[in-house]
């Protein structure tokens, strides 16, 4: 090995990298929140007895799950700016890449969240719904007060794991030259001719965040299992 490492460009770049990390986290958070809300609606539509709703949800989920995320993002970076500038009369120079990325990730992740949530709803015993309607609850009340709370408690570990995957996937906004954490690291490395160090640094940061988060999820899962067993 004759490569000579020089890590000196990292300390000075930390504020810039932190700005990038904030963008990564912003996209992740938006996509998780929207993804869970819209994913829950999709899951309920898919399980609904109203056929057109069920078909729409199935089509939506299957379509998004069949296309690579890269392609989905390319679509959203193409369509969203046109729609937004057209609808809100923005000047053509307005930077809507962050918004496009957020919308793209949110709609894409909803498909994956909806599958997790559907499995969660289906794992609640049928007797629970029957008991709720025997108590005089409407379908909506039974869902909101009986089924969903139980389903979500079982799903939390899976939803969090999906959020970790999503956080990793946000690095793909690099394609739009948006400076998320990875994009920022690449830019610094490219500028200083220290791509090797910056890429290794970025990899290490992602690893520590995701590894720590997944260990926490695992611990929570254990606690949940122990709770259910008693």
């Amino acid at each position: 090995m004759n490569y000579e490492f020089d890590w000196s460009s990292i300390p000075g770049a930390l504020p810039f990298l932190w700005e990038g990390m904030k963008i990564s986290l912003e996209i992740t958070l938006t996509a998780v929140v929207v993804g869970i809300v819209w994913g829950t609606l999709l899951a309920m539509m898919r399980l609904s007895s109203v056929k057109p709703l069920a078909w729409f949800a199935a089509g939506y989920v299957n379509l998004f799950r069949a296309i690579p995320l890269v392609m989905v993002l390319l679509w959203f970076f193409l369509i969203v700016p046109q729609l937004l500038t057209g609808t809100f009369n923005l000047s053509p120079g307005t930077d809507v890449r962050l918004t496009s990325a957020m919308i793209g990730f949110a709609l894409f992740e909803s498909a994956y969240y909806s599958e997790i949530i559907r499995a969660g709803i289906q794992s609640v015993p049928k007797g629970q719904v029957a008991a709720a309607s025997a108590l005089g609850m409407t379908y909506a009340q039974a869902m909101r007060l009986v089924v969903l709370p139980q389903a979500f408690r079982n799903m939390v570990p899976l939803l969090l794991t999906q959020a970790i995957v999503l956080f990793q996937d946000t690095s793909l906004v690099y394609m739009s030259a948006l400076a998320d954490f990875f994009g920022a690291a690449y830019k610094v490395g490219d500028r200083d001719g220290r791509l090797v160090e910056l890429l290794l640094f970025a990899g290490a940061v992602y690893f520590f965040i995701c590894f720590a988060a997944s260990q926490l999820v695992r611990r929570y899962q254990k606690k949940l299992n122990a709770h259910v067993a008693h």
């Binding site: 090995m1 069949a66 046109q82 793909l172 791509l195 890429l199 290794l200 992602y206 690893f207 995701c210």
Partner: protein, 246 residues
Amino acid sequence: MSYQWNWSIFSSPVPTGDTTYMGWLLEGLQITLALSLSAWVIALLLGSLMGVLRTVPHRGLSLLATSYVEVFRNIPLLVQLFIWYFVLPELLPFGLGDAFKQQLDPLTQQFVAAMVCLAFFTSARVCEQVRSGILALPPGQRNAGLALGLTLPQTYRHVLVPMAFRLIVPPLTSEFLNIFKNSAVCSTIGLLELAAQGRQLVDYTAQPYESFIAVTLFYLVINVVVMGLMRLVEGRTRVPGYIGSQ
């Protein structure tokens, strides 16, 4: 919006004149298929090995396999790809890195880096499936193998691994689908696979909607074909008496 649709771009010749724009897309499709399939073969082999190691009664080996999985699962695919492509050639000893950079043509360099990256990334996921398959088998299977006088490696080879694989066909199917989708990430290092050809078409023809619709349809077709094939495999390998078998 006043968008001018023009579907005839696919049959018009590219600037160099040796093929049509559809020809470019088909070249991209070929690379996507070759890349995904070759990476899948490596991922299956490597993932099976690591999955077995995660379940063997040996501290060191299972720790090694566990760390392997954690490393490849907790770093984004894009970052892994850039590390394979930009970082590793700089760090390889004995001039191997220089050989990689100077003696291989750029396309081969991109393809090799992308293949190795996808293979290792996917192998960590295959490893987890193989492990869960082996752990799902009743302990009696291992004990029966050992009681028959098979050594532990023989028990794995003839009893546990074949059974585990038959159980995990459905989750492996989704990993197999994922590898085609993940291969689109490799467009970021300049590899002209399907997604990259789509972007190139946008640059050359200024017809983004037609180009992206065509590329999206190709991915949908890949998806449908792979699902159909895996359903056949699933039907053939189903273990009687387990959930999901008839």
